[in-house]
Structure formats: structure tokens, C-alpha cells
């Protein structure tokens, strides 16, 4: 898989060994390379979290802003210079939790940006608390009796809001993730790609707590992408 144009070479990466973020990074770099994009025309926008560090590990322009706030910044960057390819990439806590309001309204606003969400169903950077997509029963240092809220379903929300491009993939399937990323980047409008990924540090905590969420990590969900065909825009 050719990722050369966007590869920064030998760099220090702060993710845990085995983390799904590595595969997502590979898929993003490969998609950008195969689309023949020049790093000078690509802006990676992120918030805060383990996933949000990804722009530092890919050769492109970087706007690494605040937790939850990647989408407003990405929208304005695209509006100010439409010739740039803008990719907002962050985690589930960032985009669906702290930035939930921006998520809703960015789908409505429909800017021509790609939104990649690393969905590991847990807060990685802050060490294992529940995220909006954590499954019921998931025990953490805060949700000590297990999560009892219904998990947030980003795809249903995006489709209900008439999102033009809504997809889910699994980080372990780098090839398919890359292909979907290419489609999403070429799609003219807001494109959501929710990528299921294992967070290696939370596997430990899940195992030690005997949580019911183990299957999410150990058996990857369907890798069939749910892609809604683009709607004609007025």
C-alpha cells in the first residue's frame, strides 16, 4: 500500500502498540496518496484525544484545535479556501460527546468536508471512561456499576438528518477503509466515516473488569459499509 507522499518517515508516535489508530493512519495516508493529492492542498483538522493526535503523524497542513471543536474549524477552513481538501478526524468522545451540537449542525450545513471518527467506544486519553458510544454494562472507573445509557448511534442520527454520505468500517480492514475514505473525500458534501477500532489499553480494563463489552473488541462488527448514496444537492 503506497502511503509515501503523506508519510513523515521515522517519527515518534504516542499510541499504544496494537492500537487501531495505526491502521486508520495507514488507510488515510493511502487514500490521500491514491487520490493523487498533494500534502500542500490537504488540511487535517482534529480536536483532542488519542485519535486527534493523528494529524501530527501525517504530512499535511494541521489544525489541531480544541476537544469537540474540529467541525466548526474545518467548516470555516473549507469555506475560506474551497480549493483545500479538508478532513476532520477525531474520536467518538470528541465528535459525538463534547462536539455533539457541532456534529448535528455540520450535517445540516453540509460543507464539503470529510469527517473521520475513530470509534473505540471508550475514552482513551483520559484512561477508560465511557464514551457516548459505549455499550450498556461497560464498567469503568466512573461508570462503576456499568453504563446504563443507551449508546449514541451516529449513523442513525446522520441518516435522519439527511446526511449525504454515511459509512461505517472497521479499522482492521485497512483496504476497505481506504476505499471508503477515497469515496468520502471525493464526495461533494459532508461525509461521515465512523471507524470501529479496538483501543488496546482498554482491552485490558475490559478484561479485568469482566465487562460485557468484550465482544465488541474481540469480534469486530460487520465490515460491510453502510453507505447511503449521495443525494442530489440543489
Amino acid at each position: 500500500m503506497n502511503t509515501n507522499t503523506f508519510d513523515m518517515g521515522r517519527i515518534d508516535i504516542a499510541w499504544c502498540p496494537g492500537c487501531g489508530n495505526f491502521q486508520i493512519r495507514k488507510a488515510v495516508m493511502a487514500a490521500l496518496t491514491e487520490l493523487d493529492l498533494d500534502p500542500r492542498q490537504v488540511v487535517l483538522v482534529s480536536g483532542i484525544g488519542q485519535a486527534a493526535k493523528i494529524p501530527h503523524y501525517i504530512r499535511a497542513h494541521v489544525f489541531n484545535g480544541l476537544h469537540g471543536r474540529a467541525l466548526p474549524a474545518a467548516t470555516a477552513i473549507k469555506a475560506t479556501n474551497p480549493r483545500l481538501t479538508v478532513i476532520a478526524v477525531s474520536g467518538d468522545g470528541d465528535i459525538y460527546g463534547e462536539g455533539g451540537n457541532h456534529f448535528i449542525h455540520t450535517i445540516r450545513r453540509n460543507p464539503d468536508i470529510t469527517n473521520v471518527v475513530h470509534n473505540n467506544m471508550v475514552y482513551g486519553l483520559t484512561k477508560g471512561q465511557a464514551s457516548p458510544t459505549s455499550q450498556r454494562g461497560f464498567k469503568t472507573s466512573v461508570q462503576v456499576a456499568g453504563v446504563f445509557l443507551e449508546p449514541f448511534n451516529p449513523l442513525a442520527v446522520a441518516i435522519a438528518l439527511d446526511g449525504g454520505f454515511v459509512a461505517r468500517t472497521f479499522s482492521g480492514d485497512v483496504d476497505r477503509t481506504k476505499e471508503i475514505l477515497k469515496q468520502a473525500i471525493q464526495y461533494r458534501g459532508y461525509a461521515l466515516i465512523d471507524i470501529f477500532q479496538p483501543a488496546s489499553h482498554s482491552i485490558k480494563s475490559i478484561h479485568s473488569s469482566g465487562s460485557r463489552t468484550t465482544p465488541i473488541i474481540s469480534t469486530p462488527p460487520t465490515t460491510r459499509p453502510t453507505v447511503k448514496p449521495p443525494l442530489p444537492r440543489p
Binding site: 494529524p55 484545535g65 466548526p72 474549524a73 477552513i77 475560506t80
Partner: protein, 357 residues
Amino acid sequence: MAGGRNFISSYPMSPSTAVLTFLARHGRDLGVIAEQAEDEIAAMNMAIGAWYTGARAMVTTSGGGFALMTEGLSLAGMLESPMVVHLAQRPGPATGLPTRTEQADLELALYAGHGEFPRIILAPGNLTQAYACTRLAFDLADRFQIPVFVLTDQYLVDTYYNVEPFEIPKTGPLRYIVKSTADYRRYTQTEDGISPRAIPGWGDGLVVLDSDEHDEQGHITEDLDLRVQMVQKRLHKKLPEIQAAALSPTLIGPKSYKDLILCWGSTLEVVKEAVTLLTRKDLALLHFHQVYPLHADTAAYLKKARRVILLEGNATGQLGKVIQLATGISIERKILRFNGLPLSVEDVALKLKEHLT
């Protein structure tokens, strides 16, 4: 518009909304992107994104809305992003008196945002100054790569009267953006702390910004020596130039005054008229249209006076506190008004008389 503004993102809030509605109405003709954001948090982050990509952006809001923007204000401080904030004050706390006036958010503007970073606060006294200050705000923000406030209030923004045509500059505003080279580093250390600012898509370099502490390139770092250097760069090194650019307060009345009344922002015209009404040869007015940082001459003006009276539209004398911080001079005589109404000339004249007899 003379400041080169071409982007505004905001969330409606009285009494600040007219700026957004005006630019939305004329956006197409004037080449301005005007967006109503889903909340003030988004508005501020959009404006920072717009500056990053080369626009001249502003936000317009009032106290409660600005409270939501403070997270993003701190981001502008860290990224060294220029920003222009129009903060139209109304009485608080919370929802307060939404359609009334007050001058109680000077300290909010001064201390807003976590962490330490420089800022400038302008406070125009009338419509002509509002034009000049806003234009200047864009220039200062772009030049120093810091947030600059235009602090108004309900009284000023809802005031209508005839003015002389504004002086429209023959040339466009100065732009401080550079074309990047392949080895471009956004946060290059310089003597005055200001690193040449490039934008994505112009030149061969990559523009990397990070809300984490970062190295010269803009990438995240935990190098603590570098942390100290970066604080010095974005804060300490910039301060002398920012201080040197401070606007001098305006002295109105006899230079050989014995009594001096101080006011700031929108109270200028009313206090000026009240002072005229008193017809005292030893009374002068000192008006501040920059309230932070204060001009270096401020202390000298105060020391010359036998009695100094501070007039403000708030309950605690906020400019007085800023003056004390800057000069060590504490002002005891205060006329403070916080009932939500604008000042009246007669009322000010009466209160001044009480203090001066």
C-alpha cells in the same frame, strides 16, 4: 469593512446582533462570508479556522455568549491566531437586563480564557471612534497575532446620529501574511515574538497549528524547556510592542486642570457635555478608548490632578481597578451607575457637582 474583514460567524444575542445582520444582508456585495453558528463555541472556532486559512474574521456577541467563547479565545491565544471580538455589553449576571446598557464586562474581556496570553481591549466612545477602533482592531490583531476586543454596549450600538463621512483609506489594509517556503515553521522564534504567518495553500510549506504546547514547527511537544521558550515568545516578547502601540487617552478641557474626571467607552459624549455644562476652568475629562493595556502616560495624567473622579457604568469601578494595576494609583472618588439606563447629562453634572464642592 475598512479593516478588511471578510468573515463573520456568530450566534444572535442582543445587543450585538446588528453587526451580524448587517453583514449578512450585504455579504454578497461586500464579499463577506456571514454564518450564523449553532452556538458561540462554534462561532469562535469557525472564526479561528477562517483566520488560519487567510480570512480576516470577527465574532460579535454579548456577555453570556462571550462566556461560551472563552474556550476558543484561549485557543486563539495558544495558536497565536489573530481574532477580533466585538463584545456589546449589557447588564448581567446571566440574562440580566437584555435590552439595557452597562459597562461591566471589561474585567470579563481582560481575564477571559484559561492560561496566559496577551490581548488588547479597545472601547470606542462614539460612532466615529467605533469605525476607527474596529479598523484598528483588525490591524492590531493581524500584526501581533493576538485577540483584540472592541468593547461596546447597548447604548453605543443602538445610537443613531449624523456623522461626518468616515475617512476611507485609499489603500487596502496592511496584510501580514507571508508565502511559505518548503522549510516553513509557523512558530519560528524571533526577537519580537512574532513569527511570520503563512496560510495553507499559498507557498510550498505546511502550516501546522496545535492547541497543545508545540515546537517551532507547530507539532505537539512535552519538552519543558521549549515550553518556557514558547510562553516567552507568545507572551513576554510581544508585550513591549503591544504596549508601545497603546492609544493615548484623550484629554478634553484645560491642560492645566486641577480636577480630572475619567471615563471610558460609550459615556464619552454625555460626560463631555456635562463637563461643559459645569463651566469650570480647572476641570478636565480624560477619556479612554483603549482600556487595556493602558497608555504609558496614564499615571502622569492622574498625578497632575488634585482630585480624580472615576465615572463608570458598573458597580465596582472596573477601569479603576485596571488603572490601579497599571499605575498603583487608587481612585477613591467614584460615580458608578448600574441601573441599566444610559447616563443623562443633567445627572452626571449633578453628581460631579457633589464631588467637586
